[in-house]
Subunit: 359 residues, 2 copies
Amino acid sequence: MPQAGSHDAARPGMPARRKRGASMGDVARLAQVSSQTVSRVSNGITNVAPETRQRVLAAMAELGYRPNSAARALKRGEFRTLGVITVTLSTVGNARTLEAISDSAAEQGYAVTLMPVAVPTRDQVQGAFTRLGELTVDAIVLMMEGHLLDVDVSLPRNVPVVVADADVGEQFMIVGSAHEHGARAAVEHLLGLGHRTVWHVAGPDDAYAAKAREAGWSAALREAGARVPPVLRGEWSADITGGWSAESGYRAGRLLAGEPHCTAVFAANDQMALGLYRALQERGLRVPQDVSVVGFDDIPEAAMYPPPLTTVRQDFDEIGRRCVAVALHQIAAQSPEAGRTSVDTVLVPRASTAPPRDR
Amino acid sequence: MPQAGSHDAARPGMPARRKRGASMGDVARLAQVSSQTVSRVSNGITNVAPETRQRVLAAMAELGYRPNSAARALKRGEFRTLGVITVTLSTVGNARTLEAISDSAAEQGYAVTLMPVAVPTRDQVQGAFTRLGELTVDAIVLMMEGHLLDVDVSLPRNVPVVVADADVGEQFMIVGSAHEHGARAAVEHLLGLGHRTVWHVAGPDDAYAAKAREAGWSAALREAGARVPPVLRGEWSADITGGWSAESGYRAGRLLAGEPHCTAVFAANDQMALGLYRALQERGLRVPQDVSVVGFDDIPEAAMYPPPLTTVRQDFDEIGRRCVAVALHQIAAQSPEAGRTSVDTVLVPRASTAPPRDR
DNA sequence: ATCGGCGATGTTAACGTAAACATCGATGGC
DNA sequence: GCCATCGATGTTTACGTTAACATCGCCGAT
């Protein structure tokens, strides 16, 4: 059987449409240099005579040459790629953090490969790690709750892991927001306005960030000698982000609206605060005249809520940047590390908080 | 079973750190087969005696072997990777679409590499394409306004491009929402409630989606013989997403609140509708008693707006899935195509619309 | 018994690149 | 004028994988 030249065969009169692009060898031939010289020009590093460089550049342009990163990666043993394992991008925080990661990585010449974990079971996570291992990334950023990692998720060996804002014990580097500090600031702001105490609409109880905010809230209350009301949790399990949703905030808000002595609420995030607004409004309660509300995140909409929401700003861009910085540092150091770095949060006072009036 | 420290032969004095993992050759040696047999097991395809397969599997496990995808890609000439060029992930639509793309791609065994274009100048876009070319992806999904591509952006040759919800003329395949249809549905819904006409708060005028919605709105009004009021555009250029922001909707809303005859507004997206709510509320106007509002997108919060927002739902998941399907099809067909497929939009009536009352 | 064929496995080569080493001519210090 | 040096360029090789081909038994048909 003759080499049945199905696709590559240059049909007569047809411009030979080769599947693979021009290689260094092709450029070298056209420029009449060795392929090593092409390599040097391509990497822009070592000494090449200006005239030669020009010739090579011209040849590259003519052939539309693009370096083959697979070959490059194979040769160099590094891939200039960061893997990001995500459970969902439907939260503002995750989306913004991912964007910051990819921007920052691109600046440093790294690509970002996405590894979605559709359903957060351990098997799925394991599978994602395995696939990432095959993708041979240089480091991994984990955007996922740590408890999913409890078991023996076998990481690719020698690949540094950075965890974005989750709790994974002592194994890895963690970059996270100062949730507790932010929550305290929210509570102190409300107490400072004269409220007797502050209620809390919490996020999902398996979420690290939710627990940290809750801890900050109750600690601040206790330190101020204020009563710690029961936590309201808008359980709502339709999907992974449900526990953080506006609907969940709305459900909690309906309970809260029945509490006659409640004059101030700290919601675990801005979406939940929005649900709270609606629940309060439905009962004829006004924000902030009857109830003050503080959120968390400072999503762009928060400033335009009716009324604009006092909230605690998280710096997702900084989280993303630091994740990349930490990852690259570990790649360079060739040694995984563990530890935690904290990104500041700051209270942004707006119109949803005011001194209490009797209800 | 103390099989722990077997690999990574710890030579005395040497910090045993092999940068590269075990290769097929290593596995082959341990299993006492040829590396080709390892390859066959690794790819699970051809005929290998069960006993041999077991031995190889065991060796792979012991060495923690992972196929090197760079070598594989080099050999096979395909990368099983989709590149996604994004300008921003800060819009719900982009984030959700990206998530759907990466989920869907992962299902088909493709990885997704992110190429952010930080500032949308042509040079930046050009740069992103160049880098993607180096990354040797098998196809590209473009999440970006088409007008940024006008000039001679040199695409990697023979790489199919799919455009997610933008207008790029005739060059590429486009997967987009039925914006016009959705906008018409919004207008018809409001007219059906008895409103004399419908005002429009439009998105940025360089956005394809914004223009399409605007076109649908005005066409529906004209066809119904209704007056077409001037378009309000919440110009706001702080950043790329500014034109779609709640703030932009608020600004437009403040103008609108001064129009005594305005009883119904169609906002270009849900965030802008929220800004509108605030502007109306500040003037003491109630939704929907004084003004009916319809949004676009159906973000999760919309159902919890005070009051819940009537809006037009976009199916971002479907857009993402189709982008991947189209991309893979073009890869298989080895021929770029052009054309457009449209993803349905559907009106979701909620509490923000009602029959008009005189103002 | 012989041979065709097939299933299991091994051998060779090539994918495109870059590190390491080799070559060659020019420059400059003595 | 000689040789050490250096800068520009070429040659060789290996990265890890897989396609293509080669080999080796073994079984069943003749």
